[in-house]
């Protein structure tokens, strides 16, 4: 956890510097008022300064991180759910929104709750139909169709 905070602090420091560098290329002033580069420049500098303080605090208080852990056993489940979401979203243009999100719902039930394949499958179908009629038909949101047309 301590290492993660230090790494995050360093990343934020460079983010602040990078923001200031990019903002430097924008006009700093315009006529009698600040230009588009004024605010991002100073925000980047302040962000870098604050992150330096955060790093310094973390270096001083290493002991306080002993009880915390960045990765717990449940983190694996989070990563699995994220991978599922990314994988399904990548193929949404083929599957269609309704079926794709239905698959996400059923898969989450299986991954998290260990529900039976039958109940998960039924949830996929019910969710896909509900999404199509609730959002596509009733709320007329033009959700992209896929293999089944919706």
């Amino acid at each position: 956890m301590w290492y993660a905070n230090i790494i995050a602090g360093v990343a934020i420091f460079f983010l602040g510097i990078g923001t200031s560098v990019l903002a430097w290329r924008l006009p700093y002033t315009m006529e009698s008022s600040p230009g588009p580069g004024f605010l991002p420049l100073w925000l980047g500098i302040i962000m870098a300064i604050c992150s330096a303080f955060v790093i310094a605090q973390d270096l001083k208080n290493k002991e306080s991180y002993k009880s915390g852990k960045l990765f717990v056993p449940e983190t694996v489940k989070c990563i699995q759910v994220l991978a599922l979401i990314v994988a399904v979203f990548l193929v949404l243009p083929i599957l269609g929104f309704s079926l794709g999100l239905g698959i996400v719902t059923g898969a989450c039930m299986r991954m998290m709750g260990k529900h039976s394949w039958l109940s998960c499958g039924a949830t996929v179908i019910a969710s896909a139909i509900s999404i199509h009629y609730l959002f596509g038909v009733w709320l007329t949101i033009p959700l992209p169709g896929g293999l089944i047309g919706w």
């Binding site: 990019l22 009698s32 925000l43 999100l101």
Partner: protein, 507 residues
């Protein structure tokens, strides 16, 4: 007399069948959301907002307001029955509420929470309808310098009321401000930080961000947080919710004090429900003749924080409606809703959209009555909802988040942005960077920057405009003092004064 006339026309709006229905749906959903883990009021409103494009704005806002103050009622149920706060604003209720439940008085705890919330909520509505127009009149004198000062004060107060490292709060605020700069600069027309993506020319839509941060991120956080608590199995009988005379005697002043504290804290930008409930509990314990009974099932220990959080949820609308500045993440999301409908909250809202404002205020009376009735008669239903597995809930949250993000511009780019912000929100929570400053800064960032630039244009580049105008000076003074609060706390600690450290974990 103006107020009476206005509120009567407000009731004419609120008491239409459509608006009563929307109010009822809102308070019911709010309670349900308060009971269910892993989803809060900002998330619920964020996920529902894109779906209300075609709904009448007054009805939609009435529903969302119902969700907001209904959530606090629902969170009480889990606080009392399983010692797990359904919402952060009901953390203090766990202390004495669960203790009462263990003594077999769960019904009385829930009842005093509902009645206290109702009475304090009513008091707060009366104060709101009295003070909000005055605040709006006062805000008509605001110019760009005042709005800049107000935004700075809101950011500064986050360091006072927020927990954790003040540097992390500032970093989170700056991140939000930087996100608000993405897109075309409105003054010069120069694109900023779009990295060659035409889809970013209009900036990052707030709906996309909150669907990610409040929707998807909460799914990841809830997967990791272990479900705890032992459910007090109590078959509720109607007679158990009726309080004894002694219960009334013990809790009446707690309700009044809690209501007043909640109202005042809710008015402050970044004040919030959690802070109000905490302060109300501590105040009640301090003035009690028997402070040692707090934590053992003292009914005032339930009445005070519950009254405060409901009063704060109502008064939190005052800065939103009168100033156009949200006081909490939930009202920040509602501000996004106002913008979506093309309505600009602020001092002119009372003049340009009186039906919406007074209809909303009148609907709060209706909503509070409905919530009181639901809390008395529908508790078994809400308790049953605790048994819904989260594995099922999370799928629906992902659905709403994805469709909500997509529906903004009918673009998969926004869906991917939503995933990115979901990962960001998850990482921020893991690394203890607060989310609230990020959200408030995103909402107020453009207002703050544009006001700053306009003020300097008016003064021809001279900064003294911020110090020569008394209201702007007052706001900026509070902001500077707020940023200095961490240093003051450190100095007080070194001098031996530890009471200034407000920390829930220190109870």
């Amino acid at each position: 007399m103006d107020v009476l006339h206005n509120i009567s026309s407000g009731f004419a709006v609120a008491l239409t069948l459509q608006n009563i229905l929307y109010c009822a749906v809102g308070v019911f959903f709010g309670q349900m959301i308060g009971v269910l883990p892993g989803i809060g009021a900002p998330t619920a409103i964020a996920l529902l907002l894109p779906l209300t494009f075609s709904v009448n704005p007054t009805s939609a806002i009435i529903m969302f307001a119902g969700i907001y103050y209904g959530v606090a009622y629902g969170g009480t149920i889990t606080s009392v029955l399983i010692n797990v706060p359904g919402e952060s604003s009901t953390v203090m209720t766990c202390i004495d509420g669960y203790a009462m439940a263990q003594k077999g008085r769960a019904g009385a705890a829930l009842s005093i929470a509902a009645i206290g919330s109702f009475l304090a909520g009513t008091l707060s509505i009366i104060l709101l309808m009295t003070f909000a127009p005055i605040l709006a009149q006062f805000a008509l004198r605001f110019g760009p310098a005042e709005y800049f000062g107000l935004a700075m004060m809101a950011f500064g107060l986050l360091t006072v009321f927020g927990g954790g490292s003040p540097f992390k709060i500032v970093i989170s605020t700056i991140a939000g401000l930087l996100i608000s700069t993405i897109g075309l600069d409105v003054v010069s027309g120069i694109p900023r930080f779009i990295f060659g993506q035409p889809a970013l020319l209009g900036g990052v839509d707030f709906i996309v961000i909150i669907c990610g941060i409040f929707g998807l991120a909460e799914v990841f956080n809830s997967i990791e947080e272990p479900e705890g608590g032992v459910l007090i199995k109590d078959k509720f009988k109607i007679r158990e919710v009726f309080l004894t005379w002694q219960d009334w005697v013990d809790s009446r002043w707690a309700i009044v004090r809690g209501g007043l504290i909640g109202f005042m804290i809710g008015l402050i930008p970044a004040g919030g429900l959690t802070v109000s409930s905490f302060l109300a509990y501590m105040a009640e314990k301090r003035v009690s003749n028997h402070p040692e009974t707090f934590g053992t099932g003292e009914i005032a220990g339930v009445a005070a924080p519950e009254s405060a959080n409901n009063a704060a949820s109502i008064s939190g609308f005052a800065p939103l409606l009168a100033l156009g500045v949200p006081g909490s993440p939930t009202t920040a999301v509602m501000l996004a809703g106002f913008m979506m409908w093309g309505i600009r909250p602020g001092p002119l809202l009372f003049k340009n959209n009186p039906d919406l404002v007074w209809g909303l205020i009148a609907s709060m009376y209706v909503g509070n009555v409905l919530l009181l009735l639901m809390n008395i008669f529908l508790i078994p239903l809400f308790v049953a909802m605790l048994r819904i597995p989260y594995a099922i809930m999370m799928g629906f949250i992902i659905i709403f988040a994805a469709i909500g993000a997509y529906s903004v511009n009918n673009s998969m780019f926004d869906v991917w942005m939503m995933v990115g912000f979901g990962i960001l929100g998850y990482a921020m929570k893991k690394l203890k960077y607060p989310i609230v400053p990020l959200v408030l800064a995103m909402v107020l960032g453009r207002l703050a920057e544009n006001s700053f630039r306009q003020a300097l244009q008016i003064s021809e580049g001279r900064f003294e405009i911020f110090f020569s105008r008394p209201i702007a000076l007052a706001f900026l003074s509070v902001a500077i003092l707020s940023y200095c609060t961490p240093l003051i706390r450190v100095a007080l600690k070194k001098a031996g004064y530890s009471k200034s450290d407000i920390n829930v974990e220190s109870l």
